[in-house]
């Protein structure tokens, strides 16, 4: 199929960016979206132009490196997939596709389609862990039985890949879904109870410091999340936060 691409090009963080038009022929349905961009780049290199830079790594939907706002949607039109798993069979011959970086104040553009998501790292550094030493001198793993439903729910929250689609989908660029998934994983497990109060307070404080917006419960994040992280996590984090505030 033949595609008309409108791609955001930006030399570096300080340079102004703009949409540039490209036409690409010979795209097949079995290609992934990133493989389509690979072909475009091969074409640009052969013409002596600079290729379009975009973030990607595992190309199997788990590392969370790939991003891209495709026709206004993070990770494109398909549901429950990252851009690397989006296949061109979702598009038709003659389609125009607009490709932009994730847009948020807390995710500044580095180059072309690459953004800086280190704000997510800092939120987790603020408390997204259990303070146990890694020396191995702990109790036997089966000493504390954990209800299967709680363990499964913690696992569901923990499957967040930290890609930032929730932020890009939100009109307020809020990071509540991401932060709440991290808080929930620990809130649902007995191991997480000891530091629960400080954890939620510190992580929410850092989230606000990074310049993410507030949550207004539109639910766009949940719709666009490639891993299906549930809005319930936000409710749980709000409850944790309220409880922590009451405790002081």
């Amino acid at each position: 199929m033949k595609l008309y691409l409108k791609i955001w090009r930006q030399k570096d963080a300080s340079a102004p960016g703009k949409i540039v038009d490209y036409t690409l022929d010979g795209v097949e349905g079995d290609m992934s979206f990133l493989e389509m961009l690979d072909i475009l780049n091969e074409d640009l290199i052969s013409k002596g132009e600079e290729p379009v830079e975009f973030d990607h790594d595992c190309r199997e939907g788990i590392c969370g490196t790939c991003s891209l706002q495709i026709n206004g949607e993070p990770h494109g039109p398909d549901r429950l997939v990252t851009t690397c798993q989006l296949h061109m069979r979702k598009f038709n011959d003659g389609d125009t596709i607009v490709i932009e970086p994730f847009r948020a104040k807390a995710f500044p553009v580095i180059k072309d389609l690459i953004v800086d998501r280190s704000a997510f790292d800092r939120i987790q550094q603020a408390g997204g862990y259990i303070s146990v030493n890694t020396s191995g001198n702990t109790i036997d793993a089966n000493t504390i039985p954990i209800n299967k439903y709680d363990a499964d729910e913690a696992m569901d929250a923990a499957t967040c890949i930290g890609c930032g689609a929730c932020v890009a989908a939100c009109k307020n660029a809020s990071a509540m879904l991401f932060t709440s998934a991290k808080v929930s994983q620990f809130a649902l497990l007995p191991q997480g109870q000891v530091e629960a109060t400080e954890r939620v307070q510190n992580m929410v404080r850092q989230m606000d410091l990074e310049g993410f917006g507030n949550c207004t419960n539109t639910g766009a994040c949940e719709v666009e999340c490639p891993k299906g992280i549930s809005l319930t996590n936000i409710a749980r984090m709000n409850r944790e936060y309220l409880a922590a505030t009451c405790k002081g």
Binding site: D12, E28, D30, S32, L34, E35, D38, I39, E42, I45, S46, G48, P51, D55, D57, C58, R59, E60, G61, I62, C63, G64, T65, L80, Q85, H87, R89, I110, K111, D116, S118, F120, D121, Q124, Q125, G128, Y129, I130, S131, V132, T134, S135, G136, T138, I139, A141, N142, I144, P145, I146, K148, D152, A154, M155, A158, T159, I161, G162, F186, Q191
Partner: protein, 667 residues
Amino acid sequence: MGILDSKIPSGPLANKWTKHKNDINLVNPANKRNIDIIVVGTGLAGGAAAATLAELGYNVKTFCYQDSPRRAHSIAAQGGINAAKNYQGDGDSNYRLFYDTIKGGDYRSREGNVYRLAEVSGNIIDQCVAQGVPFAREYGGMLDNRSFGGVLVSRTFYAKGQTGQQLLLGAYAAMNRQINRGKIQAFNRHEMMDLVLVDGKARGIIARDLVSGEIERHSAHAVVLATGGYGNVFFLSTNAMGSNVMAAWRAHRKGAFFANPCFTQIHPTCIPVSGDHQSKLTLMSESLRNDGRIWVPKKKEDAIAIREGKLKPTELSEEDRDYYLERRYPAFGNLVPRDVASRAAKERCDAGFGVNKTGEAVFLDFASAIERYGKEKALTSGLKNPDKATITKLGEEVVEAKYGNLFQMYEKIVDQNPYKTPMMIYPAVHYTMGGLWVDYNLQTTIPGCYSAGEANFSDHGANRLGASALMQGLADGYFVLPYTIGDYLSDDIRTGAIPTDTKEFEEAEQQVRDRMEKLTSGSGIHSVDYYHKKLGKIMWNKCGMARNEKELKEAIEEISALRKDFWENVKVPGSIDSKNQELEKAGRVADFLELGELFAKDALHRNESCGGHFREEYQTEEGEALRDDKNFKYVAAWEYKGEPKDAALHKEDLVYENIELKTRSYK
């Protein structure tokens, strides 16, 4: 021989590690504050090592090319992690895990290292649970297990199909705790360009900030390389796009021996190649072989009809199917080790029984598992005389709970519903057992340069068992390195900070700059990917699942010629002092072009078949691998001497005091 000292402690096998820990030198807590350690790579091995070393009090700097440590490719491991906990009461023990690993590796790994791995395995699970890793549990609240290939017990712990992700997030969380304390400085989007030696010791690295393009000098008292494997030398593999051999290869060029490069794992269950545009291959976890049955049609005409789309696999009756693993290996069936399963698939496809358009795929079928689980579920739910549709529905729910994310991934890529029609799979490059040679302390042949995880060669011999990579990465990082590195650093308590304004750093930096200048000054005919794909084709066709002398010799010549062509004609647009993904790729491919040749040379010299290394000249009448313990019971460690073809071979004889060498049989 002679110059390779594995430093395996003396004494009985089960006491070696304890004895060693008691014998080696320690660094007191106050002195640790004056010692710097660089950790390159932040996957399971690097992340775990960085967190633990920082927690002990050392000043740690981590480097990763990804934008966050949490994105290292350990994250993609699906199935699970082994540990000899014997929670299932099925007769597991440290010895059994040790024995299975040595046997699975086809008797090409060290007894001492592997026993230590088995010994610390149980503690890894305790550690991870304490960190909040949400492993799968049974209804009673205890941890659940499943089985992996090459073993007869259930010792694999898992977190759905995302075990690697959860373990990595655990190590990353431990790192975050230390970053928050200021004990780890994390340099993300940074690539190690070279290792710096001062007076023969590893004392730092030259790194490139991948955003600004700036070249930086970083010094330390020791350098840990935990940068993963080199499977991407094949271009198409299950590795991440950025996975590369640069750090290990730079160290090799500076004096670290490279061991057993030809020991590469071709994983049997991956999604088959669909076309030339393909950039990477996707693994379908080995855990699927717990429930999936592998087959091809018995009759060639049926295989042809399926390939042409005239026949559906579900229409083929049981009698017309050849469950070839169950037929050839009745004892282990679909759960034979990976090398055996891969070769068996290749054998059937080469014989003309392949089932996709290219003829390079076999079926992985869940129909019988769905029926079995459905009946069980109906029974436990109190349903009497359920109809077939109900059983199928219930069975599909159970299968979804176990492997849902894998099935979804398959459907997105292939556009077929694996609940309704069997999956198509084919072997793909997945893991490299070879790597930097290290002694029992995980130290390379360069003093002060350590290597952990997939980047070293140590524990898996010629073939790795499923769910053992995660075990080894975390064992090295959490429990081995933090002890052994202290023995070396105890001599450095009075050294003080290592200056970077010395001629050693200056020279190394200049070499890095010169190399990048050279990469960007090619005549500009072909892109980096053009060369990488060509190299991958040579590797896959001539150094892949089956190798022979003639083709290996051809491969050496072809790779050497391709490397020359690359340096003369590669086209790298953009500048060296800004963000430039093509330049990053070019540096990595340049090293693959050297490693590939050494790989072929190693495969050519090893005149035997063992594990993942299958030489067509050395096989039994039944087509099984024919090992030669008399002549090849050693680790091949290669010393850099300029061109890869000039590399010098050093042999470390493998001594078996506790295990009797046998022909591996899974029949």
